[in-house]
């Protein structure tokens, strides 16, 4: 899996490419923006072609590391494959999910400024 990190109005955007499984999950878990409890992160899942329970676990544990558990990690551009896995595990209730990265960044920014 490849992680590309960009930033927009102070919000880190992690774009994931490839497979998010047991092998690649630690890479996401150990990402600098993810570890930082103060930082709000948008994860773009558009290019994720496979996700398993370890991948879901990495995203959920990332959310738990944040000061704002429900707003610290915002998910964007979830494709159907990924959405179905989130639905099966009922993990969709834990996150705010956007179909557009810009909207997700706007939401994350408003959350960050509200908590500041």
């Amino acid at each position: 899996m490849t992680i590309t990190e960009t930033s927009k109005i102070g919000i880190a955007i992690l774009s994931l490419y490839g497979t998010l499984d047991a092998l690649s999950a630690p890479e996401l878990r150990n990402n600098r923006s993810i570890i930082d409890p103060e930082k709000t992160v948008v994860i773009d899942l558009q290019q994720v072609d496979f996700i398993d329970s370890s991948g879901i676990g990495a995203i959920v544990s990332a959310s738990r590391q944040k000061r704002q558990p429900s707003g610290g990690i915002v998910l964007a551009c979830m494709n159907d494959r990924v959405r179905k896995v989130f639905e099966i595990t009922n993990a969709q209730k834990l996150f705010h999910i956007f179909d557009d990265t810009t909207a997700a960044v706007d939401f994350a920014s408003s959350r960050q400024s509200a908590s500041a």
């Binding site: 179905k84 639905e87 099966i88 969709q92 705010h96 999910i97 956007f98 179909d99 706007d106 939401f107």
Partner: protein, 464 residues
């Protein structure tokens, strides 16, 4: 124009409780899933794309609706957070909404629309804001109107919350009564208020009172009365002399004989009262899943009673037998050949004579009427190797799916339970009847059934 249909699990939690077999969004209203009514309305309002949002699972809905190509629209699915407002929903689906006008239907409520009205002009000309509302549901329009409001425009529309079984029942009955004039409903029919699905088998004696809606693969058996105001789902059997009035029967439900279903909702094995919300379980004793081989089949009291009755019959028919048997044997009307039959015990067989009596003469007719062709088998009952009444003995030596090793109940008898029943003792029906009695009868009822079987054999014309 685009439409968002948004639901929250908390709004339809009652459906999970009352009708656990069906996804709430696929809850049938007049044999049409709830979500289809909303999609129809979205299309009437001029939507080219619809997105279904929910904070719960949408797997079943997605499998049913797929990508919306059957309606000629783009159908997509997304998740929402339980606390999301309409503004938040629009933000989360910004890419879907784009710059177009969006209609948001939120809440688990039924839209009372009329397909004859021009909702498309109405939706595109209304100012942004609430179009219609009810407790727990609303229709909201966002974006700039694309048309000016025409003077002549009328678009009757209201929302009805589906928050309980009572409101669901009301909505279903209302849909059935207003019928095809307001909504697009499934089924075919030459007459109004009478819609039938595919492969519906109706006995000649069935009475149908309009309005009714009947699904696919339905069997309505003799003297059943359907309607008025009956909604019968798909894969349903309404058995003999039962009536269904002002009621809803869900898919895959069996309504047994001589039952009156009035003002109820039957779902699987539950019968619900929509007014009080009370429900009872309907136990179908013919269901074979619960029947297991048990000690009851081989119980000693049963064998003793069978042996005693067999002794009485041996004594009672001794004189007719001793007179008629030699006569028929000498006349060539009595043909007997040895055969091997499957025993009660797995992998064991027993030799029983296979007797054929040509009932053309008076003596042979009396012999058949008195079941003398089975006289020798009565001795096997006394020794406990055969039951007086049980299953029809199965011939050994063939690979049979109904052999004792594979079936839950088999007890070969001189008479069979199927012979005691009124209907034709053939094929699957006979097997079901036999297994039912094997599991449920007791030594006393067996005596009554032996008498019944004996009387029924009087009417037999054919030889055995």
């Amino acid at each position: 124009m685009k439409t968002i249909l948004a639901f929250r699990e908390s709004e339809y939690a009652w459906v999970h409780e009352k009708f656990p077999c069906v996804h709430p969004l696929l809850l049938p209203l007049c044999n049409k899933p709830f979500i289809e009514f909303l999609i129809d309305f979205a299309i009437l309002a001029g939507s080219s794309a619809v997105r279904i949002l929910c904070d719960g699972g949408l797997g079943e809905v997605e499998r049913y609706c797929e990508d919306g190509s059957r309606w000629g629209i783009d159908l997509s699915y997304a998740s929402i957070h339980p606390d999301d407002s309409i503004h938040a929903m629009l933000g989360k689906n910004r890419k879907f909404c784009g710059e177009e006008r969006v209609m948001i239907v939120s809440g688990f409520s039924f839209i009372r629309y009329d397909k004859r009205y021009d909702y498309k002009s109405f939706a595109s000309s209304m100012p942004p804001g609430e179009w219609s509302t009810c407790p727990g549901g609303r229709i909201t329009l966002t974006g700039v109107p694309t048309k000016a409001v025409p003077d002549w425009l009328i678009a009757d529309l209201s929302l009805m919350p589906l928050d309980s079984m009572t409101s669901y029942y009301q909505a279903s009955m209302e849909t059935l009564k207003t019928g095809e004039s307001r909504y697009v409903l499934p089924g075919y029919g030459d007459e109004p208020e009478c819609a039938f699905g595919r492969n519906v088998v109706i006995s000649k004696s069935v009475e149908i009172r309009k309005p009714v809606s009947i699904g696919n693969n339905v069997q309505l058996l003799g003297n059943a009365i359907i309607g008025p105001s009956a909604i019968i789902g798909s894969n349903v059997i309404i058995d003999r002399e039962s009536s269904v009035e002002s009621s809803i029967v869900f898919d895959n439900t069996y309504i047994g004989e001589h039952l009156e279903i009035i003002g109820r909702i039957a779902s699987g094995n539950r019968l619900n009262d929509p007014k009080s919300g009370a429900s009872i379980a309907m136990e179908d004793p013919h269901l074979l899943s619960g029947i297991k081989k048990n000690r009851h089949l081989r119980s000693l009291p049963r064998k003793i009673v069978h042996a005693c009755v067999a002794l009485v019959m041996i004594a009672a028919f001794f004189i007719p037998f001793i007179i008629l048997w030699p006569l028929l044997k000498l006349g060539g009307h009595w043909k007997s050949s040895p055969a091997s039959f499957l025993s009660e015990r797995t992998d064991e067989t027993m030799p029983l004579a296979k007797v054929e009596v040509d009932a053309s003469g008076a003596a042979a007719a009396i012999a058949v009427a008195l079941s003398l062709d089975r006289y020798f088998r009565l001795f096997w009952v006394v020794t406990g190797q055969l039951a007086l009444i049980g299953s029809t003995p199965l011939l050994a030596g063939e690979s049979r799916p109904d052999a004792p090793a594979y079936v839950p109940a088999y007890l070969p008898g001189v008479f069979s339970y199927a012979e005691a029943e009124e209907w034709a003792a053939t094929g699957g029906d006979a097997t079901i009847v036999e297994r039912f009695h094997l599991a449920h009868s007791n030594p006393l009822t067996d005596i009554g059934l032996v008498i019944k079987a004996f009387i029924n054999r009087f009417q037999e014309k054919s030889t055995i």
